[in-house]
C-alpha cells in the first residue's frame, strides 16, 4: 500500500508517496527519474547501485524505501556542488577510470562515502569498500589509480590546512 515517505535527498527535502517495501533504487530511478544510480544484480553483490545513506555507502537495490524515511540520501546526481565536480569525480575523470561506465557511479559513491566520513582515509580503507564492487570491464587498475590520486590529493589538502 502506498504511503508517504520523506527523505533528505541530495540536500533537499523530498516527499515520495509509494509502496514502502519497494527498493530505494527503483524509487530513485522510476519515480524520481534519478537514473545515475544503476541496477546490476538486485542482491547487493555488485554495488552498481551504491548511494550514501546518512553518509554510509549502501546498496540501494536491497534497501527498502521504508528504511530511508527521515534519513539523508545522496546519489551521484547530488555529489557535485554548484556545477563543480566532487574531488572523487575529478580523480576518476583524470584517470579515465572506467570503460563502459556502468559501475562508475557506484564506485564513485563508495569512495566518496569513505572519504567524506574520514578525509584522512588510507588507500587500504577505501579499497576495502571497493572490494564489494564489480567492474566487469576490468578497469580495476585505473580505478585503483583514481583512488590513489584522491587519497593523495586529500592528504595534500589536509597538510595545507
Amino acid at each position: 500500500m502506498d504511503a508517504p515517505v520523506v527523505i533528505t535527498l541530495n540536500g533537499k527535502s523530498q516527499k515520495v508517496v509509494a509502496d514502502p517495501d519497494r527498493p530505494l533504487l527503483e524509487v530513485l530511478r522510476e519515480d524520481l527519474h534519478l537514473t545515475g544510480t544503476k541496477f546490476g544484480c538486485g542482491e547487493g553483490a555488485c554495488r552498481a547501485c551504491t548511494v550514501l545513506i546518512n553518509g554510509q555507502p549502501t546498496p540501494s537495490c536491497i534497501t527498502p524505501l521504508s528504511a530511508v524515511d527521515g534519513q539523508t540520501v545522496l546519489t551521484i546526481e547530488g555529489l557535485g556542488r554548484d556545477g563543480k565536480l566532487h574531488p572523487v569525480q575529478e580523480a576518476f575523470l583524470a584517470e579515465g577510470a572506467f570503460q563502459c561506465g556502468y559501475c562508475t557511479a557506484g564506485m564513485i559513491m563508495g569512495v566518496a562515502g569513505i572519504m567524506n566520513a574520514n578525509p584522512g582515509a588510507s588507500e587500504a580503507e577505501v579499497m576495502a569498500e571497493l572490494q564489494t564492487h564489480i567492474c566487469r570491464c576490468g578497469s580495476y587498475v585505473k580505478y585503483r589509480a583514481a583512488v590513489r590520486r584522491v587519497v593523495g590529493l586529500t592528504q595534500i589538502e589536509q597538510r595545507r590546512a
Binding site: 509509494a18 509502496d19 517495501d21 519497494r22 527498493p23 527503483e26 530511478r29 522510476e30 519515480d31 527519474h33 537514473t35 545515475g36 544510480t37 544503476k38 541496477f39 546490476g40 544484480c41 538486485g42 542482491e43 553483490a45 555488485c46 552498481a48 546519489t75 551521484i76 546526481e77 555529489l79 557535485g80 565536480l85 569525480q89 576518476f92 575523470l93 579515465g96 572506467f98 570503460q99 563502459c100 561506465g101 556502468y102 559501475c103 562508475t104 557511479a105 564513485i108 579499497m127 571497493l130 572490494q131 564492487h133 564489480i134 567492474c135 566487469r136 570491464c137 576490468g138 578497469s139 580495476y140 587498475v141 585505473k142 580505478y143 585503483r144
Partner: protein, 721 residues
C-alpha cells in the same frame, strides 16, 4: 576481406518471435526445445540468413559523403557511424579518426553512433572490426571533406592546392593570409551536390608519422557525463507515460506453456497483461508492481517439460558423442608407432559474458512506427529482427543504441528489444524492459564449451613432426597453429550445443589457444626444452629480423618482450612447488600477444592465486594508447575470471549459478601485479584490440601450475586440488 575475418560473428538465431500473421511465436525457443546457434560453420551471415543486405556483419557503409559527415553553416561538424560504444572505446577512436583528417581538435567533432535513422550501416560492432574497418572508412570521408574545402579555396582564390594548408579547421593560403572554414564550405552553393557523391575510395589518408590526434590518448568524449551519472544508458531512457515490463520465463529450457489463468493479474490496478501464444508478459506503472503481477501469473502457469538435456557435468562426453561425423581421427596415426608422441584432451566450459548492464530496451509505438532504444552490438540487425517479428516495412522501425553497459560479444541480438516492443504494442504506451540478473545469466547466450583433442609427435631433434588438433563445438578461431610443424591437421567440428551459444571476447580463440599453448608446454617438457626456447624454435624462419612484419616475427617480438621484462630465463630456473611461472603467446585477428605469469599455490587449501602478469601486446599502429591500455588491462582481468573460476553449471535445463553471488567474476583483490607493454608499430596497419589480449591468460596460468606441480592442466577453470 578474407573469409576467415567474418567467421563466427554471424547473428545468432533469434528467439524466433513472430507477432504477426502466423502466430507461431516463440516456437523455436519453447516448442523446439533446444536453442541452436548458427554462425559457427564459416559461412558469411548473409549466406546463412538470406536476409536483406542491411544488418550483415560488415554492413553496407556510407552511400555518400552526406551519410558520413554533416557540416553546419554555424561551424558544427557532425560525423555519423554505425558502430556502438559499449566501453571498448569506439566513440573516442572514431572521433579521433574524423578529427585527424579534418584537421580539427577532437573536441570539435560531434559523433553520432548507431541510430539507424541517422547513421550508415557500418556492420556489427564485433570481431575487433572498428579499428581496421570503420576507422579507415571515417577517415576517408573526413579526408574527402577536407579535399572539398581545399578545392573551394583553389577555385575562389585561383591558387594551387600545394599553396594551401588545412589546420584548426581552416584552409589557409600562406602568402595572402586568406582563410576559409568548414562553415564557409557548408555555405557554398555546390557543396550539397558534392556531398551527394560517393566517398572516393582512393582518398589520400594522413600518414602515421604526421598524426596529431590519432595516436594520442583522447579521453572518451562523454566521460564527464559518466562521472556525473548524467549519461543515459539504455536502461535509463525515459519516455513520457512510460510503463515497466516483465516477461514470464519458462522454469527450464524447452518447457512449454500449456495453461495459464490471467484473470487475477489482469484485475490488478495499473497493470496490463499480454499473452500471445507462448509469450506472456506484464506492464505496470513500476517494476515492483510488474513483479507482483508476474508472480500472480506464475502461480497459475502450467508447464510441460522439454526434452531431457545433459547437465554441465556430462558435457565432455555429450559434446564428443554428438560431434558431427564423429570426432575426426588423427591422419598421422600410422606414423606414431614407436614415436615420441603425446595425446591430450582439453575441456573449456560454457561461460557467461555477464555485462554489468543486463539487456534493456525502451520501445515506443507512434502511428504504426516503432522506435526502440536498446543495448546491442548490432543496431541494423536488431532493426531487422523487429521488422520481422512485427511484419513492419523497413522504414517503420528505428533502433537507437545509446552508449551501453558492455557486451564482450554477448549482445549480438535484439530479443529484449522485441519483447519490449511487444509489451508496448499491447500497453499502447512506451515500455521499459530490463532483464534481471538471473534472466541475463539464463536467457542470454553463452560462450560455447569446447572439447579439444590434440595429438603430436616429436622427431629426433625434439621438433614437432606431426600435429593433429580438433576443436569440437566452440569454433574455428585460432584453430590453426602459428608454429611451424612438420605435418598438420587442424580442424573444427560442430556438435549439438545444449545451450544457446554465441560470440565472446576472442570466442573460440580462447579455447583453441588455451589447448594449444598448454599442449606446447607439455611437448616442450617431453622434448626436455625450455617453453620459451621450444616456441622460438617453432617460429620460422628463426633467423629473421625481429622488426619484420611477418606473423612469425611479430609473435617472436611479443614473446621476447614479455620474457625479457618478466626476466623469464632467470625466474624459470627456480623450482618450487608453491610458486610457478608460465608463459603463453598467440595471434588472433591480426594482433599478437604474449604473457608471463607467476602463480602462488596453496596446496593445503587447494587455492591458486595469480601474483604477477607481464603481457606484451602488438596491434600495429596504436590509435589511442590510453584506450588500448584499458582494453588490454580489461581483457587480462576477464581472462583471469575464465582461468580461475568462471563456469556455467546447469542441470535439467536450469542454470544453477545464475547470480553474482554464485558465479564469481573477478574483483579488485583478484588483480595481480600487472605489467602491460604495448608495442607500437607505426609501420603496420592498426588492428582491433578488444579481444586478442585475453587469449594468453588461461594457458599462461595453467602452464605455471604445470611447471610448479608437474601435473598437466587439461581443463578450465584451472584447479589445484
Amino acid at each position: 576481406m578474407k573469409a576467415e575475418e567474418v567467421l563466427d560473428f554471424g547473428p545468432l538465431e533469434s528467439f524466433g518471435y513472430d507477432f504477426g500473421l502466423s502466430r507461431r511465436s516463440f516456437t523455436k525457443l519453447l516448442g523446439g526445445g533446444l536453442m541452436l546457434a548458427v554462425g559457427l560453420n564459416g559461412k558469411a551471415p548473409a549466406q546463412e540468413s538470406g536476409q536483406r543486405s542491411h544488418g550483415g556483419f560488415l554492413g553496407t557503409g556510407a552511400r555518400n559523403l552526406a551519410a558520413r559527415i554533416h557540416l553546419g553553416t554555424d561551424g558544427t561538424i557532425t560525423v555519423m557511424a554505425g558502430k556502438v560504444e559499449g566501453g571498448q572505446g569506439a566513440r573516442a577512436e572514431l572521433t579521433q579518426a574524423a578529427a585527424e583528417e579534418l584537421r580539427v581538435p577532437a573536441s570539435q567533432v560531434q559523433m553520432i553512433l548507431a541510430d539507424t535513422e541517422l547513421v550508415p550501416d557500418d556492420g556489427m560492432t564485433a570481431g575487433s572490426g572498428t579499428t581496421p574497418r570503420t576507422v579507415p572508412a571515417v577517415r576517408q570521408g573526413a579526408a574527402a571533406a577536407r579535399n572539398l574545402l581545399i578545392g573551394l579555396a583553389c577555385s575562389q582564390w585561383e591558387v594551387e592546392p600545394a599553396a594551401l594548408e588545412v589546420r584548426d579547421g581552416r584552409v589557409v593560403h600562406g602568402t595572402s593570409r586568406r582563410a576559409l572554414s568548414y562553415a564557409d564550405l557548408a555555405k557554398s552553393a555546390d557543396v550539397a551536390k558534392e556531398f551527394e557523391q560517393a566517398i572516393p575510395s582512393g582518398v589520400q589518408l594522413t600518414p602515421v608519422k604526421e598524426w596529431r590526434v590519432m595516436g594520442t590518448p583522447v579521453l572518451r568524449p562523454n566521460a564527464r557525463e559518466i562521472v556525473t551519472g548524467t549519461r543515459q544508458f539504455p536502461s535509463d531512457v525515459t519516455r513520457p507515460g512510460m510503463m515497466y515490463g516483465k516477461i514470464l520465463r519458462p522454469p527450464s529450457y524447452g518447457a512449454k506453456l500449456v495453461a495459464i489463468d490471467t484473470t487475477r493479474a489482469k484485475a490488478m490496478k495499473d497493470v496490463a497483461v499480454v499473452q500471445d501464444d507462448q509469450f506472456v508478459g506484464v506492464v505496470a506503472r513500476n517494476s515492483s508492481l510488474a513483479l507482483d503481477a508476474l508472480a500472480e501469473l506464475a502461480k497459475t502457469a502450467k508447464w510441460q517439460d522439454g526434452p531431457k538435456q545433459p547437465s554441465s557435468t556430462e558435457l565432455i562426453t555429450y559434446l564428443r558423442q554428438n560431434a558431427e561425423g564423429g570426432p575426426p581421427q588423427n591422419p598421422y596415426a600410422g606414423e606414431l608407432a614407436g614415436a615420441n608422441a603425446l595425446r591430450r584432451t582439453y575441456y573449456v566450459p560454457y561461460i557467461q559474458h555477464a555485462p554489468l548492464e543486463p539487456r534493456a530496451a525502451v520501445a515506443e509505438w507512434s502511428d504504426g512506427k516503432l522506435t526502440v532504444w536498446t543495448g546491442s552490438q548490432n543496431p541494423f540487425g536488431v532493426k531487422n529482427e523487429l521488422a520481422r517479428a512485427f511484419h513492419l516495412p523497413d522504414g517503420n522501425v528505428r533502433v537507437v543504441i545509446p552508449d551501453f553497459g558492455a557486451a564482450f560479444g554477448g549482445k549480438h541480438t535484439g530479443e529484449c528489444a522485441v519483447e519490449a516492443a511487444r509489451l508496448a504494442k499491447a500497453a499502447g504506451k512506451p515500455v521499459s524492459l530490463r532483464w534481471s540478473r538471473e534472466e541475463e545469466f539464463t536467457w542470454a547466450y553463452f560462450r560455447p564449451a569446447a572439447v579439444i583433442d590434440a595429438e603430436a609427435s616429436l622427431n629426433a631433434q625434439g621438433k614437432i613432426a606431426t600435429w593433429h588438433f580438433v576443436n569440437i563445438n566452440s569454433g574455428p578461431n585460432a584453430v590453426e597453429t602459428p608454429y611451424s610443424v612438420g605435418k598438420k591437421d587442424c580442424r573444427f567440428v560442430e556438435s549439438k550445443p545444449p545451450l544457446r551459444h554465441g560470440s565472446y571476447r576472442g570466442l573460440a580463440a580462447t579455447a583453441n589457444n588455451f589447448a594449444r599453448e598448454v599442449f606446447m608446454d607439455e611437448l616442450a617438457a617431453q622434448a626436455g626444452a625450455d617453453p620459451l626456447e621450444f616456441r622460438m624454435a617453432h617460429l620460422h624462419p628463426t633467423n629473421e629480423d625481429p622488426s619484420a612484419g611477418t606473423p612469425a616475427a611479430r609473435l617472436r617480438a611479443v614473446l621476447e618482450k614479455a620474457a625479457k621484462e618478466f626476466r623469464w630465463t632467470e625466474r624459470a630456473k627456480q623450482k618450487r612447488i608453491d610458486i610457478g611461472v608460465g608463459l603463453a603467446c598467440g595471434v588472433e585477428k591480426g594482433s599478437y600477444v604474449a604473457a608471463c605469469v607467476e602463480v602462488a599455490i596453496d596446496h593445503q587449501r587447494g587455492k591458486l592465486k595469480v601474483a604477477h602478469i607481464c603481457e606484451a601486446y602488438e596491434c600495429g599502429a596504436i590509435v589511442n594508447p590510453a584506450n588500448l591500455l584499458s582494453q588490454v588491462q580489461g581483457a587480462v582481468v576477464m581472462g583471469l575470471g575464465a582461468a580461475l573460476r568462471e563456469e556455467v553449471q546447469f542441470e535439467n535445463g536450469k542454470i544453477l549459478n545464475d547470480s553474482f553471488g554464485k558465479y564469481l567474476v573477478p574483483r579488485f583483490d583478484d588483480v595481480p601485479g600487472m605489467e602491460i607493454h604495448l608495442i607500437d608499430r607505426p609501420d603496420l596497419p592498426s588492428a582491433g584490440a578488444g579481444e586478442t589480449p585475453i587469449i594468453v591468460i588461461a594457458p599462461a596460468i595453467a602452464n605455471a601450475v604445470f611447471r610448479a606441480t608437474g601435473k598437466s592442466v587439461q581443463g578450465l577453470p584451472v584447479r589445484v586440488a
